[in-house]
Symmetry: D3
Subunit: 153 residues, 6 copies
């Protein structure tokens, strides 16, 4: 339990895969209730079944939330992250329906030093795929890491 | 109930303010459970009280989720949005603690035509503020809209 | 576990008291999420603190829901009710704040026969009180009961 | 966002229709947990499948809660209501099963002055219908409204 | 509502049966979120469908939690228990799938005096069965009871 | 992400510590709702404040559920467990109040072979402590593990 990683332990090109989770009606209804987003595409089966999607779909921002959670659960980077710096290029590529099972593939894409020795910045690309290996969402996630002493990114 | 808006009804520089919501311990615990993100900064008061934050703080992605939900509840754009195109430049500017009350100010920032007449793209800047009017999060939100006939963005 | 009651076992003037429950922030946030009622009097502490109530209060319909649930949990009438016929004169007499503890006093008020032997109708008055024995809500609850054979209400 | 309505803006005979929501197993299980009403007709499929209903049905009071929430979400009356005065004639006309989609039609039915100028009382009839346009519940909802100056209801 | 039982009222060999509850996807997802146990056998349908179970199954400890709750709801022993002393021999005999309906049969198995007059200890065997009357879990539950005056176990 | 452990990797005397979680009112209210255990010691602050505990306490079985979840989240044993064999000697040593922060210390206590080569049984002692390092619960947890080839426990 004293596994201790540093940003340096994540190298550009490294790829990590999380566990998967099945997105259920419970997720969608709980999400709507937590955030207040009751748009009929997510909550009204009669309406949604008449759209191009043919039925209710999950809220896009929930897929983002689940992706961040799946990486948190996986413990990747857990000990080494100092701060969350932001998200860019979040794109929804395909809808997620109830019953779909999603997981995240994380790829270390960029590394940059900071002015403080012992701290570095990395950008990880999160790609969310479903059970048919289709990409449903992707986004860039930037974090500040503890770097090994003297290696200051 | 037949209020019908088009993208054209949102003009660059228009500003909308949503209702506010108090972020509670229930939000944080439910978020952790829904997404699986049990990082101690959000869930372990003993740990969090020894950090720079002095106590548990809300998950950043939850503030994003709440912001999208507050705008959904407000009904702004409800009838006119065709699709959610993505999010950029999501940045957390200050922590949100349990008991803080947040709202969203939306500003219409960019408009662009599409190749399809009757459809246009807009970028809205979402700024989330707390009860002291401090900005806690901001992000750019892109959507495709129905435009009025013949006006094709 | 084969306790079997009939409507006849509840006589006009009988009074039953349920267990009590403390109404928490979790109840209020969950209620809002389940029903979609995010009115700021319940969800926005900044707003609510400037009203006559001085802070967030519980949704009135949730007190009704809790009252029905407290009676269900108590097992009163459990075996003998055939159908729920409706509610009248639901009135909110005082606000319920988070931290208040409510219970229900049920009084059998009216009994009427039906055309079917073995079935009768009763009206029970539900009075919800808080920890200071103040009445916060009351309503009339009508149910159809199994009556003992040959006694047809 | 500064839309401001008064009770006067709702005239007898006016009709409003809310969005719809699909009632799910999640709603029923969450309702049971929130209120403590675990009656087998709602929670025990084996039992419920042997009743006249042929399976679990939603709790009646939950349909009331959802109806109030659907109207709250719709924003009808939002700015103009001073207080909730009560509910009468709540009747369940047909069961709601998981998977049914319900919406509310509100009709302004009665208006009465109060002794305070600038305040008036209205009774709105809420009718809840399912995806087959069958009425499943109805009730009378009384509220006190801000009225336009000098018009004192 | 003044039913008052003592430990003496439960005699060795007495058997009680609780109400039943259908275990839903909502239970499983809520359990995972509350406890943080997101093992793929419970949360990842793709993975679970390739195991010997052929699909997601409920968390074993949740069946324990539900069993204790079903007995609590039933009101057996409610007035007479002083303290929960512990659980032994908890065994899972068969998986519980979503859609299964479980109930508890409680049998009074052992009784022992304590050094304090008026207090006694009993061990109750909890057996959880499903809708096919298969035993899915069993455990021994020890409690301290109020005993009738002078009867001190 | 291809870390693969076997039962052999856990040796008698090994000790693991999980992350900690603050037990909140949300946990207690959600637990009650999920399991149906609304005993006033957990749900009625007025009642609980007059007991020896001086206020509401968490349900004992929830501490068991949280302990199992904390170990699941920690990933200890994740890849190597074949089956959960049961729990013994579950004892509550001290109450857990809302606001308390609990973690689990797991100690490998017993190992036994099975008749199948490649499978072994271990008993791990789970000890749950609070923020003052007081033991609040303990129990023995038995699991069947994959063992390294030819080492058959």
């Amino acid at each position: 339990m004293t596994r201790k990683k540093y940003g340096d332990d994540f190298r550009i090109g490294d790829v990590y895969r999380t566990a998967a989770i099945t997105v259920t009606e419970t997720h969608v209804v709980t999400w709507a209730g937590l955030t207040g987003d009751f748009y009929p595409l997510h909550m009204d089966e009669e309406y949604a079944s008449r759209t191009q999607f043919g039925g209710r779909i999950a809220h896009g921002p929930m897929i983002f939330g689940l992706a961040v959670g799946l990486v948190a659960q996986s413990g990747i980077g857990e000990d080494s992250v100092i701060a969350w710096l932001g998200v860019d290029k979040m794109r929804m590529h395909a809808p997620v329906r109830m019953g779909d099972t999603v997981r995240v593939t994380v790829e270390v894409k960029e590394q940059a030093p900071t002015r403080s020795p012992g701290k570095g910045i990395q950008m990880w690309l999160y790609t969310v795929t479903n059970q048919r290996d289709e990409t449903v969402m992707s986004f860039e996630y930037r974090m500040m890491f503890h770097m090994r002493a003297g290696e200051a990114a």
